[in-house]
C-alpha cells in the first residue's frame, strides 16, 4: 500500500494551471469562482489525478507499469484541504485508489489503476 498526504495551496493550484495549460478561472480567481456558485477557487480534478497517479506509480513499482488509470471526481478540493491519497493492491494487476479529505469525505471514488503484468 502507498499513501501520500497533500495539503492543497493556491500556489500549488496555480503552478498546476501553468504546467498543464488549464487556466480556467475557477481554479485561479476567487471572485470569479464565487460568481459561478463555487465556494472560491477549487483544485483541478486533473491535479488530484496527477497526485493520485504518483501514489499509484509508487505502489506499482514505477510509472511505466501503469496501463490504465480511472478517477471519479466525487468532491471539491479547496485550498487548505488535506487529502490522503491511497493506492492498495486489489488483485494481481490492479490497484484500488482512494482519496479522502480531512473531514473523512471521499474526493475520489471508484478509482482504479491497472498494471502491466
Amino acid at each position: 500500500m502507498s499513501t501520500r498526504a497533500v495539503t492543497f495551496t493556491k500556489e500549488q493550484i496555480a503552478a498546476y494551471a501553468e504546467a498543464s495549460g488549464d487556466h480556467n478561472p475557477i481554479h485561479l480567481d476567487d471572485d470569479f469562482a464565487r460568481s459561478v456558485g463555487l465556494p472560491g477557487v477549487i483544485a483541478h480534478g486533473m491535479l488530484q489525478m496527477g497526485l493520485m497517479g504518483t501514489v499509484a506509480a509508487d505502489a506499482a513499482g514505477g510509472p511505466d507499469k501503469l496501463r490504465r488509470l480511472y478517477c471519479r471526481f466525487a468532491g471539491m478540493v479547496v485550498p487548505g484541504d488535506t487529502v490522503m491519497f491511497t493506492a492498495e493492491t486489489a488483485g494481481p494487476d490492479k490497484l484500488d485508489l482512494r482519496a479522502v479529505n480531512q473531514r473523512g469525505e471521499p474526493v475520489l471514488t471508484k478509482s482504479v489503476a491497472e498494471l502491466a503484468s
Partner: protein, 135 residues
C-alpha cells in the same frame, strides 16, 4: 443506450481534426514538479492530461455548436489507458471525438474521447473524459 439530445447544442458523434504535439522535456518536467513526481523519472503518465486531453478538449470547448459554458463545466470522471508511455522529444497526434452528449435533470453530460498515436501511427493512449455542465 438511448440518448436524449440537447437540441441545437448536441454534438454527439462529432470528431475534431487531429492535433500534433511535441513532448518537450522542459514542459514534462514542469508538469512532474507540479504533481510532486520526480522529473528525472521521465514523462509522468498523467501528462496525458496535456498531450492527449489537453490538446483536444479546447476544440470541444471552442466549438460554437457545442455551446459549452466553460465556467459551469465540471470534470466528473477521467480515464487514461496506455499502450505505452511517450518519451520526451516524441511528436504525437491526438484526435478528439464526442461519444455522447446527454441532458438529464437540468445537467448536461458530455463524454469526450481522445485517441493518441505515435509518429509511426501506433496507438499510444486513449483518454476518456466525462464533463458535466451545470445549468
Amino acid at each position: 443506450m438511448s440518448e436524449v439530445g440537447t437540441g441545437a447544442a448536441g454534438v454527439a458523434g462529432r470528431t475534431y481534426p487531429p492535433v500534433e504535439f511535441r513532448i518537450e522535456a522542459d514542459r514534462a518536467a514542469a508538469f512532474a514538479r507540479a504533481i510532486g513526481a520526480d522529473p528525472a523519472a521521465g514523462v509522468p503518465p498523467t501528462f496525458a492530461a496535456v498531450y492527449s486531453l489537453g490538446v483536444t478538449a479546447p476544440q470541444l470547448f471552442g466549438d460554437p455548436d457545442a455551446a459549452v459554458d466553460f465556467s459551469r463545466l465540471l470534470h466528473a470522471e477521467q480515464e487514461f489507458a496506455w499502450m505505452r508511455h511517450p518519451r520526451a522529444g516524441e511528436t504525437i497526434v491526438s484526435q478528439g471525438h464526442v461519444v455522447s452528449d446527454v441532458s438529464r435533470r437540468g445537467m448536461r453530460f458530455v463524454t469526450f474521447e481522445t485517441e493518441t498515436t505515435d509518429g509511426a501511427g501506433q496507438r499510444l493512449c486513449r483518454s476518456k473524459a466525462l464533463f458535466v455542465i451545470r445549468s
